[in-house]
Symmetry: C2
Subunit: 462 residues, 2 copies
């Protein structure tokens, strides 16, 4: 584990010289606002919060921190779910709140260049007038920098890919103060090593993203939604495989378990039965393609034993449905006012999804825990949500989480599909990666020899 120096008065003065005094704070309120994300992980205070305004300032701060062996933890907007941006070793908390601008819209290229602190929802609001959008959608209004650092994904990933699939080029500040560019605005590039994807998903431990050029897609002109209830999760998942095999390319393919369906019906008035249900969305350039596609989807669902099928191309109804899906977590939290929630995140090859789900059901029925399941089924990704209270409840949830993660890895899957490693998943990486974890650590040491970049994340040893 690397050893660090505390933030000295001298360093604060140097930070003020680089950033200006309005962009450096040791006030308790600022420290506390940047000590915890949306996960169950405990708050840890940094020693100073800074708000850089430019890539060069980021680089200058890193160079100082590197020389003085002080930790630097980058911060988007704190929507992480694995403690990814909690400054567990103290030091400098680097907020990107004031680097939140669109740098350039390249409409003909379906690209936009942004500063890392812009929220993806804010970005998409500004892109709407160009008929374009940045498709990865992790739910919360996460910053683009945070999404790239964690390789965030979400509901539309089944069609449009994760964050890593929707970025072309980044500017990155290295620990030693170098500013480099990785990737290319050319959508095709075979010119040397793919450093772009090395930094994407590295959670700020290899370098700090200071600018990114994103791939955009045209806003679909025609959209539909469909709901299908099934007698079992197994038949629902088999339907997922059949729909993907049909070539229909769904834009969302979500599984909601029976308990969630009941909660959504009661809270939002959505017409759902107490059965595992698939929420689907389809995008098309033509109305006729959409209608023809829905007929195929209905045929597949019925063939696979669906108890009910309902489809709509009405925008209001579709939005109501997805509003309920998007807010399912809040609805669940509201219905357990005395509980804290822990959200698990694992993913497996789709063929292993039924076995994974059966394991979760078995754990739910045999362990002293309650849990709910909601999943990006089209991607083989599931979130198991545990309401708990107290330290004992937390440990019970963690034990169940460990069993689910082990099963996912055993099935050829991953300990985290989209939330990143952060604090909570570090202990599972050896089982998932074997000796490749040593290569990751060697690269970490190469690029950040003093270990100042977001310490305490990804690697158990710091």
């Amino acid at each position: 584990m690397p050893s660090f120096n505390p933030v000295s008065a001298d360093l604060i003065a140097q930070l003020i010289t680089i950033l200006g005094s309005v962009n450096v704070s040791t006030a308790r309120a600022d420290i506390d606002l940047h000590a915890k994300d949306q996960s169950q992980h405990h708050a840890v205070p940094s020693e100073v919060v800074i708000w850089p305004l430019s890539a060069q300032q980021v680089a200058d701060v890193l160079k100082l921190a590197h020389e003085q062996r002080v930790p630097v933890t980058p911060w988007g907007v704190g929507t992480g779910l694995e403690g990814n941006s909690i400054p567990v070793r103290g030091g400098i908390l680097m907020s990107f709140e004031r680097m939140n601008q669109i740098v350039a819209i390249h409409a003909d290229d379906f690209q936009v260049t942004v500063q890392p602190g812009i929220g993806h929802k804010d970005l998409n609001a500004q892109l709407a007038r160009h008929g374009l959008f940045f498709p990865p959608d992790p739910g919360a209004n996460a910053t683009v920098g945070g999404m790239l650092a964690n390789n965030a994904a979400g509901i539309r990933t089944v069609k449009y890919g994760a964050s890593k699939d929707n970025v072309l080029k980044m500017q990155v500040a290295l620990a030693d103060g170098r500013l480099i560019h990785v990737g290319s605005r050319s959508v095709k590039q075979s010119a040397g090593y793919d450093l772009l994807h090395l930094f994407v998903g590295s959670e700020g431990t290899l370098g700090v993203i200071t600018e990114a050029t994103l791939k955009l897609v045209p806003v679909p002109t025609h959209m539909s939604a469909a709901l299908a209830a099934f007698p079992s999760i197994k038949s629902a998942v088999e339907t997922v495989v059949a729909i993907r095999g049909s070539g229909l390319d769904p834009a969302a393919l979500e599984l909601i378990d029976a308990n969630h369906c009941r909660m959504l019906r009661e809270a939002e008035g959505i017409n759902l039965s107490d059965h595992p249900t698939l929420f689907m969305e389809f995008h098309a350039a033509q109305e006729t393609a959409l209608t023809a596609g829905l007929e195929i989807v209905e045929d597949i669902c019925k063939e696979m034993g669906a108890l009910s099928f309902h489809a709509t191309t009405d925008a209001t109804e579709r939005k109501k449905l997805w509003h309920a899906r998007h807010h399912s977590y809040e609805i669940m939290v509201r219905s357990h006012p005395d509980k804290t929630f822990f959200i698990n995140d694992v993913a497996v090859p789709i063929s292993a999804y039924p076995e994974l789900i059966a394991t979760v059901e078995h754990i739910r029925d045999t362990q002293p825990i309650t849990c709910y399941m909601i999943g990006h089924a089209g991607d083989g990704n599931i979130h198991v949500e545990f309401p708990f209270s107290g330290e004992e409840g937390y440990q019970q949830a963690m034990t169940a989480n460990g069993l689910i993660v082990s099963k996912a890895v055993e099935l050829g899957g991953t300990c985290t599909g989209e939330h990143g490693v952060g604090i909570g998943k570090a202990k599972y990486l050896r089982a998932e990666h074997g000796q490749a974890l040593d290569v990751m650590h060697d690269i970490k040491t190469l690029l950040d020899p003093n270990g100042i970049l977001n310490p305490g994340k990804i690697f158990v040893e710091g």
Copy 2:
């Protein structure tokens, strides 16, 4: 530049112990068969050719070569276009010809696990019975290992992505003999650094791919082809932008210049005029979607000033058209029987494509060279093909190539879109990557401290 030892009689004996004598050859015929790819780069003989049969054998050989400081150059089937697999420093030539099996078909997951020596056409022939295919198509029957090592792409990349977008997991042998797994069979993974994409496109200089799990897609049930001729390359390229903006998601979007059109008409009887022409293909799950899509495409082409438009859903006619496009290089070579050909490969953001093409036209008209253009326009990728003879002709083509590459990089593009760096593009990487090239070299040194893996490629300094 690293210094190496020659292949000793003792090393040959050790190779025979690992591989068996039938898989080790110093015969002149074998050396010569593995000394040159399909590019204009000169043949260079290795000292011994070996055919490993397993990942462990690959790892064992690398460990020996690492300890004895002997170069190892991996070889697929020799279809490279930048000398990527020419053993320029001698040593061991490692052919994957005998590791060419499908390891497992995961039909429900739309995945296949293969040994690296399988040809992608041979793979797709075997996958057809499952209704699936591996979409990257570089033209020649390249091996999957070679495609991944070079991040090869081709005609269908505009819809389905390059090789890097169609691989999920690989087994890689490192220079020191470790065998690691990178990536995951889960289509989503946010568990640590993306080593998968670090090795993809690294041209065998960081490790040797010994197994790969590929993403597959359902064979489309309905396909169409369309041809549109334009008065200028500028209007053709503006049409490309408009089609991509329509959300129609073409499966191919190729630009053929007027000279190529004339050659294809004369050699293959395709009904083409002497004008820049777009070759397009569309895939859909439903007939109605295809028909509706073609109407939109026709409207766009006419609005953009197309001189002619012809579309077909007839399989025979479509295949004839694409046969001509696929064989355009051979047709061109046949029509210049006294020439050698050099193929340039650059790519830019699509908005810069007209300026790039204008630069090529200017170079063609002012330099002592002839050239033809054929491009994956949907990706901003162009190949400029130079017929030449003799050393002077070669130097003239190289000068023109350098001017085109510089322009592409200046326009925010890349010195190679799909052929890789190999020998010919190494000198352009500094201009394209700046200080990021130092990071690439540091990673090379970290993973291959003795520099034995495919030396003389990617980096000018060896």
